[in-house]
C-alpha cells in the first residue's frame, strides 16, 4: 500500500469510526446501545454495504472489483435475512438511533463522491472505502456491539457477522494492493 493510499485509508477509517462514537478523544462516550438499537445498527450497516456494492456493479468494469461487489451483495443480504428472521422471532422492533443515522449520512456522502468518479479512480476509491468501512464496523462489533448485546442469539449472530466481515476486510485490503 503506498503512502497516499495509507493516508486515505486512515482518514476514511477515522471518519467511519466517528459514527460509532469511538473516535479516540471524542468528547463524550456514546451511551451503551440497547438490543433494539444494536439490531438497527447491524441491519443498517449491512444495508449500506449492499448499496455501496450495487453502485460498484453499476460503475466498475474491473473483474476483481465486480466479483468483490457480488460477494458483498450475497453475504450482507444473507446476514440481513438472518437478522430480520431473528428480530421477528424475538419480537424486537429495531430502533433507529444516532449511530445508524450517522452511518447512513456518512456513507450516503461517500457514495455521492464515488458516483462522480469513473474507471480506476472509482475502483480505487470504492475498494479503499470498503476496507475502511469494514474495519470500522468490525471494530464497533468487537468493542461495542457484541459486548453490549444482551440476547444470546443476537450476540451469536453478531459474532458470525464479525467472522464474515473480517474476511471481507482482508479481501478489500488485498484488492487495494491490486487495483492500480
Amino acid at each position: 500500500m503506498d503512502i497516499l493510499t495509507t493516508v486515505r485509508h486512515a482518514a476514511a477509517t477515522a471518519f467511519v469510526l466517528a459514527a460509532f462514537g469511538t473516535t479516540p478523544g471524542s468528547a463524550q462516550p456514546a451511551p451503551k446501545p440497547t438490543d433494539p438499537q444494536i439490531a438497527h445498527i447491524a441491519y443498517t450497516a449491512d444495508d449500506i454495504d449492499i448499496k455501496n456494492a450495487k453502485l460498484a456493479l453499476e460503475k466498475s468494469r474491473n473483474k476483481e472489483v465486480r466479483a468483490f461487489a457480488d460477494d458483498m451483495v450475497r453475504d450482507h443480504t444473507a446476514v440481513n435475512v438472518r437478522a430480520l428472521a431473528l428480530v421477528g422471532k424475538l419480537k424486537v422492533t429495531p430502533e433507529d438511533n444516532p449511530t445508524s443515522q450517522s452511518l447512513v449520512k456518512q456513507q450516503d456522502a461517500e457514495r455521492a463522491k464515488l458516483a462522480s468518479l469513473s474507471g480506476s479512480a472509482f475502483d480505487k476509491a470504492y475498494v479503499a472505502n470498503e476496507a475502511a468501512y469494514h474495519g470500522a464496523v468490525n471494530g464497533a462489533l468487537e468493542t461495542t456491539l457484541i459486548p453490549a448485546s444482551q440476547n444470546a442469539e443476537l450476540k451469536s449472530l453478531l459474532q458470525s457477522g464479525l467472522g464474515i466481515f473480517q474476511e471481507h476486510q482482508k479481501h478489500a485490503e488485498h484488492l487495494a494492493t491490486l487495483v492500480k
Partner: protein
C-alpha cells in the same frame, strides 16, 4: 474420528497399516466422507480419501460458500445450512478453495483405489 482421518497422520501411519489393511473392504467400495465448513473455514483442511469416494460437505455458516478445485475438476456452490457432494475422480493432491472467500482453502490427499 474416522479411519481416514487417522490414517492421514504420518507418525501413526505405519502402526496403523495393518489395521487399515484388515479393515479395508477392497476395491470398489467407495465411501462417503463428511466434512464441514464452519466459521469461514474448511474444518478438515487436510483430508485423505480414495478415488471413487464421495465427499459430502456441510455448510454450517449463514453465508454461501463454494468448494472449487484449483485444477477445475470440481466446483460446487453450497448454500447456508445445506450440503453438497463431490465425487473424487483423480488420484493426487487436490487443492481447493472458496471462490467467494479466497482466504478459505484446503487440500485432499486422494489415493488411487
Amino acid at each position: 474420528m474416522t479411519r481416514r482421518q487417522a490414517s492421514a497422520r504420518r507418525p501413526l501411519a505405519l502402526a496403523y497399516c495393518a489395521l487399515v489393511v484388515a479393515a479395508w473392504p477392497g476395491p470398489g467400495h467407495a465411501e462417503t466422507l463428511r466434512l464441514t465448513i464452519e466459521n469461514m473455514a474448511f474444518a478438515d483442511a487436510l483430508a485423505s480419501a480414495r478415488v471413487g469416494d464421495t465427499i459430502e460437505w456441510s455448510n454450517l455458516d449463514i453465508v454461501a460458500h463454494t468448494v472449487t478445485a484449483r485444477d477445475g475438476s470440481f466446483d460446487i456452490v453450497i448454500l447456508p445450512g445445506k450440503t453438497g457432494r463431490t465425487v473424487l475422480r483423480k488420484a493426487g493432491k487436490a487443492t481447493f478453495y472458496c471462490r467467494y472467500h479466497s482466504s478459505m482453502a484446503g487440500k485432499i490427499d486422494i489415493r488411487p483405489d
